[in-house]
């Protein structure tokens, strides 16, 4: 069956949609159609991809208005009687056609205090961890850095607060470090101030689009909001900390 793909063409933010008709077959994904179009009709069409297996996080785009991995979006799940729109992610500066400049994300990552393990548990310089202590963190390690969550987050997408908010991907990353049983670093002040966790209004769009099914809002962001509350605001936690001589932590 033939289907129409309405693809954004242009560079550095300006451009227009162009329609391409191509033959589709069983089992095809959106990226296959884009590759067909590139091979037969538009050799200069810029598209970023790598693994075609939903694991490299390169082929992020918006298909029919929804942030998706093109290689994991089956044509059989789309209504092919109407043109399928494919546009680049909206929360990052546009480069060309379907490609955006996601380097802001890598710069943000550098601002997060790195993993700082306690002194090794054994004389040979190794540590001992219990599986139950790393269960939570393992969910966050599934992240493939596709940045779809960053793209859909209205704080970045609509309000462009890139200067003040690190976005869901880096709240997941910080949670993985903060909850890590070996880590000794304190990041709650940054979470509140530099990372702007308060901008998240827990509307869960990031969770909805995550191709790895990470429960970003419930398992990473809200637990961090609670920890920031302990640290920055809660007088009861402060009082208990003073009386026991301990600060809430590991």
């Amino acid at each position: 069956m033939e289907a129409t793909f309405r693809i954004w063409r242009g560079a550095l933010g300006s451009g227009t949609f162009a329609d391409y008709r191509t033959e589709t077959s069983d089992g095809m994904v959106v990226l296959d159609a884009v590759h067909d179009i590139q091979a037969t009709q538009a050799p200069d069409l810029a598209v970023r991809w790598n693994c075609k297996a939903g694991k490299c996080g390169s082929c992020s785009a918006e298909v029919n208005g929804r942030p998706r991995l093109m290689c994991m979006t089956r044509l059989s799940d789309l209504d092919l009687s109407k043109p399928v729109t494919i546009e680049p992610m909206q929360a990052f500066p546009h480069s060309r056609d379907l490609v955006t400049d996601v380097s802001w994300n890598f710069r943000v990552k550098h601002q997060i205090k790195p993993f700082t393990p306690r002194t090794p548990d054994a004389a040979d310089g190794t540590w001992r961890m219990q599986q139950e202590d790393v269960d939570r963190v393992q969910e966050f390690r599934k992240c493939i850095e596709c940045f779809l969550c960053q793209d859909v987050c209205h704080v970045l997408r609509d309000h462009h607060l890139h200067e003040e908010f690190v976005g869901p991907r880096y709240l997941v990353y910080t949670s993985a470090l903060e909850m890590h049983p070996l880590d000794t670093q304190e990041r709650r002040d940054e979470l509140r101030k530099a990372h702007g966790i308060g901008y998240c209004n827990i509307t869960k769009c990031c969770t909805t689009v995550c191709p790895e099914g990470i429960q970003i809002t419930d398992n990473a962001i809200i637990p961090m909001k609670e920890r920031v509350m302990d640290h920055a605001f809660d007088p009861i936690v402060k009082l208990v900390g003073l009386m026991t001589g301990k600060v809430a932590g590991p």
Partner: protein, 266 residues
């Protein structure tokens, strides 16, 4: 943070290339939540028909002052200003009300449905300015954990009401054990509210979420896991318990008005 190189464009309010009916979910949230608020406010101002037999409506529990036999300290106090409307519900409803208002799940839902912030995922927003929960006033949503703590106490009162709903006055004037449909309604209401409260995100934090190593404090293990399990369906608990609490009030109200007749099972 570092500067982006090409200026990003903003989409207009409601602008999206989404094809699905993205507006249905916020519209349903808007309808159900506003209907609940209207009904609860109306019911709270009635100051009548909130008890039937041994049953007490959850909107009126605990009844601190009031005219029913459930009242702790007797009728409306003399010092209550005449111009201020009185009802036992008005004294206590702010607690469960604010507990739900500051609930993480409801926050996410009503920011979309009532404030279009965003109207739905990947749909353009109507306002340019955005403060989120970072600044006044919404930074106060963080007090959720205190309403949780008071609500746990309230849950104790509601459980006590279920116990009382097992004891009926018989024609001879004595008290006898029994079970009516109303007893089951009150009990189911408490089950729903317990599922909602124990799966609360702040509860999950208090029950162990704040720890990095459960292996060091095994006492936290089971409570944290149970809360996590309930938390995964927190939205469903939120809606069912909301509808159930309204239905429980309605049940008691209609029985009290004689429109419905409470059937004794035992």
């Amino acid at each position: 943070m570092t500067h982006t190189t090409v200026p990003l464009t903003r989409r207009r309010a409601g602008e999206t290339l989404r094809r699905d009916a993205w507006w249905i979910q916020p519209a349903v949230v808007f309808l159900v939540l506003s209907s609940f608020v209207v009904y609860a406010t109306w019911a709270a101002f009635q100051n009548a028909h909130y008890t039937a037999g041994p049953y007490l409506s959850p909107f009126y529990s605990p009844e601190i002052f009031g005219d029913s036999p459930h009242a702790w300290f007797g009728p409306k106090p003399g010092w209550w200003p005449g111009w201020l409307p009185f009802s036992p519900a008005l004294l206590i409803l702010p607690i469960p009300g604010l507990f739900r208002f500051t609930c993480y799940y409801y926050r996410g839902a009503y920011y979309k449905a009532f404030w279009a912030d965003p109207p739905s995922c990947a749909v353009g927003e109507p306002r340019k300015r955005y403060l989120g929960e970072r600044y006044f006033p919404l930074v106060f949503q963080n007090i959720h954990r205190y309403f949780l703590m008071i609500s746990v106490v309230f849950l104790g009162f509601l459980t006590h009401d279920v116990w009382k709903a097992f004891w009926f006055t018989n024609p001879a004037g004595g008290v006898e054990f029994g079970v009516g449909v109303g007893t089951l309604v009150l009990a189911l209401n408490v089950v729903m509210l317990t599922g909602y409260t124990l799966g609360c995100h702040s509860m999950r934090h208090i029950l162990g979420g704040f720890r990095d190593q459960f292996s060091l404090k095994p006492l936290f293990r089971v409570p944290y896991r149970c809360s996590t399990c309930l938390n995964a369906a927190h939205n469903r608990w939120a809606w069912t318990s909301l509808l159930m609490v309204a239905f429980t009030d309605l049940y008691v109200r209609l029985c009290s008005m004689g429109i419905w007749v409470d059937v004794r099972i035992l």
